[in-house]
C-alpha cells in the first residue's frame, strides 16, 4: 500500500524547494512546476524503479519531462530522492550550474533525456519503450506533457507511433492546468476535447484530479494493468497549486516570486504540512 501521508509530505517539500530555488535564481517557471508536483512526487517516491546511487541502472524506469520548463519540480524531486546534494538547488539557472534552465542529461545525474524544446518528449519515450520491447525488458517509461504543449504537431506524430507499436510500457501524464504563457489554453489555441483526441489516437485514457494521490495511484495501477495500448493520464491540475496567490495566475508561468512572496508561500506550505501531520 502506498503511503499517502508520505507522498503529501514529499509533495509539500518539493513545492517549498520549487519556490525557494526559483526565488533565488530570480528566473524559472513556478506555475507549471507546482501543478505537476503531486504527479512527480508519486512517480519518484512510490512508482518508479530507480536508484539514486546508480542513476544509469540499465533496467530502471525512465522519466521524460517533455514540458522541460518545469525543470524545478524534477530537480526538487531528484534532490529529495538523493541524486545530489540539496544545496545545488540554490544554483538553479546560474552560470556553471548543472541545474540548467531546462534539464540537461549531460550535466545532472538522474535526467534520462535533455528536454526544453516542447513537443519532443513523447517521441523520445517511444524510442526508450521500443528499445525495452526489443530487448524483452520490463522497465516502464513515464512522460509528462503540458496541455499547451500538445499544440505541437510532433506530439500527435508520436501519439500515433506509441499506439501503432502498442507501447503499453509508455505511461504519459498530461498536466492539464489550462494555462500557457499567453493566457488560457482554450483562448490561445484550444486543445479540447483532450480525452477524445487521445482515445481517437489509440490510447487508453484515464482522467483524474492531478492533485488527488488516490486517483494518481489508481491511474498508475490501471495503466500497468492495461495491455496492448499506451496510457494517457489526463490530470486536471491547477497552475501554481498549493500557493494561494499563485493558483491559476498566468503571470506565474515563467516569473519568479519575490523574496516576500516566497516567504508567504513557504508560510502557506508550512500550514499544509501541519494539516497533513
Amino acid at each position: 500500500m502506498a503511503d499517502i501521508k508520505m507522498l503529501k509530505e514529499k509533495a509539500t517539500q518539493i513545492r517549498k524547494d520549487i519556490v525557494t530555488m526559483i526565488c533565488k535564481s530570480k528566473s524559472g517557471h513556478p506555475g507549471g512546476s507546482l501543478s505537476a508536483a503531486d504527479i512527480v512526487s508519486t512517480l519518484y517516491f512510490n512508482e518508479m524503479n530507480i536508484d539514486p546511487k546508480n542513476p544509469k541502472m540499465a533496467d530502471r524506469d525512465r522519466f521524460v519531462l517533455s514540458k522541460g520548463h518545469a525543470a524545478p519540480v524534477l530537480y526538487a524531486a531528484l534532490a529529495e530522492k538523493g541524486y545530489f546534494d540539496k544545496e545545488l538547488l540554490g544554483t538553479l539557472r546560474k552560470f556553471g550550474s548543472p541545474l540548467q534552465g531546462h534539464p540537461d542529461m549531460k550535466k545532472l545525474p538522474g535526467i534520462d533525456i535533455s528536454t526544453g524544446s516542447l513537443g519532443q518528449g513523447l517521441s523520445v519515450a517511444n524510442g526508450m519503450a521500443l528499445s525495452a520491447k526489443l530487448d524483452n525488458k520490463t522497465y516502464r517509461t513515464y512522460v509528462l506533457l503540458g496541455d499547451g504543449e500538445v499544440q505541437e504537431g510532433q506530439v500527435w506524430e508520436a501519439a500515433m507511433t506509441s499506439a501503432h507499436y502498442k507501447l503499453d510500457n509508455v505511461c504519459a501524464f498530461l498536466d492539464s492546468n489550462n494555462l500557457q504563457i499567453d493566457g488560457n489554453v482554450d483562448k490561445v489555441m484550444g486543445v479540447e476535447p483532450l480525452d477524445d483526441k487521445w482515445r481517437a489516437f489509440g490510447w487508453n485514457v484515464i482522467v483524474i484530479d492531478g492533485h488527488n494521490f488516490e486517483e494518481i495511484l489508481g491511474a498508475l495501477e490501471a495503466a500497468k494493468a492495461h495491455k496492448g495500448q499506451p496510457t494517457m493520464i489526463i490530470a486536471k491540475t491547477t497552475k501554481g497549486k498549493g500557493i494561494s496567490f499563485m493558483e491559476n495566475i498566468c503571470g506565474f508561468h515563467g516569473v519568479a516570486p519575490t523574496p516576500e512572496e516566497t516567504d508567504k508561500a513557504l508560510e502557506e506550505l508550512k500550514h499544509v504540512e501541519c494539516c497533513t501531520n
Binding site: G121, L134, D135, E157
Partner: protein, 309 residues
Amino acid sequence: MSKKATRQAYGEALAELGRINKDVVVLEADLSKSTKTSIFQGEFPERHFNVGIAEADLMATAAGFATTGKIAFASTFAMFAAGRGFEQIRNTIAYPKLNVKIAPTHAGISVGEDGGSHQSVEDISLMRSIPGMVVLCPADAEETRQMVFAAAEYDGPVYLRSGRLDTEDIYKGTDYKFEIGIADTLKEGIDVTLAATGMLVHEAMEAAKTLEAEGISVRVINVSTIKPLDGPTILKAAQETKFIVTCEEHSVIGGLGGAISEFLGETHPTLVKKLGIYDKFGQSGTGNQLLDEYGLRAKDIVAKVKESM
C-alpha cells in the same frame, strides 16, 4: 569503370553492419525502398522501425533508442532529415550528444525528377553549424560502406549524406581506409588543388586529367569528412599549390567551400574558388541534366581553374 548509387551502398552496408552488431536499429519515415533501409528490414524486421511520414518524430524516437545504448540510424531524404528534422536533431540528438546516425539519402540536385522541393542543397550547411556534429559525404559506394562502419564505431551524432544517382567508383578494389576527419589526397599536384566531396570527386579527377594534359599540375583531395575538417591536409594544399577550387553538389553557402574558406581565412589566406550551387533551388529533370545545367561537371571545374590561373 563500374557505378553504384551511394544510397544503395548505404542500404547494403547497413544490413552488413546489422549482422555483426545487434545493437544497431534503423528508423525510417516511409521511404525505406528509396533509402534502401529496406535491405536491413528484409534481414532484421524486428530492428527496423517505420514511424510513418513524420520526420520530427523519427529523429526524437532515434534519440530515445540511443539513450538505451542502441546505435540508431535514422533515414529519410536529406531534405526532410536536415530540413524538417533540424530542430529535433539539434536539441534532442546533438545537444545531449546522443549516438544517433542521421543517414539520409537523396542529397543534392541529382535527385532529379522530383524537383526542387526534394533537392537538398542546404543540408551540409545546416548540419555543419550544429555543435559537435560530424558531417560525412562519401565519394563512392566503397567509401559509403566504410563510413557506415566508421559512424557506428564513433560514439556521438553523425550526419552521413548519400545520393540517388549512380556514382562512379573511386575506391573499389583499392586498399583505401576511411577515417573520420581524414581527407584523402587522390592525386598530387603543385599548381591548383581541387578539394571535392561526394560525386564531384569523380568529376574533379576527370577535370584533373584534362588540365594535366594542358600542362597544369593538379592536386585532388577527397574531403569526405566535411566536419571535422582535415585542417593539416587543407593547409598543406594551400601552402603547396597556388589556389584551391572546392567542388560540391551543394550550395556554395556553408558547405565544403564555406568550411575551407573559413579555415584558410584564419590560417593561411588563400584564393578559394567555389564550384557548387549559387543561391538557387533545383528543378525537375534527370539527375545528369541537372548536373550539366548547374555546372557541376568536369568541364565546369576545368573552366573554373582556367579563369583563376
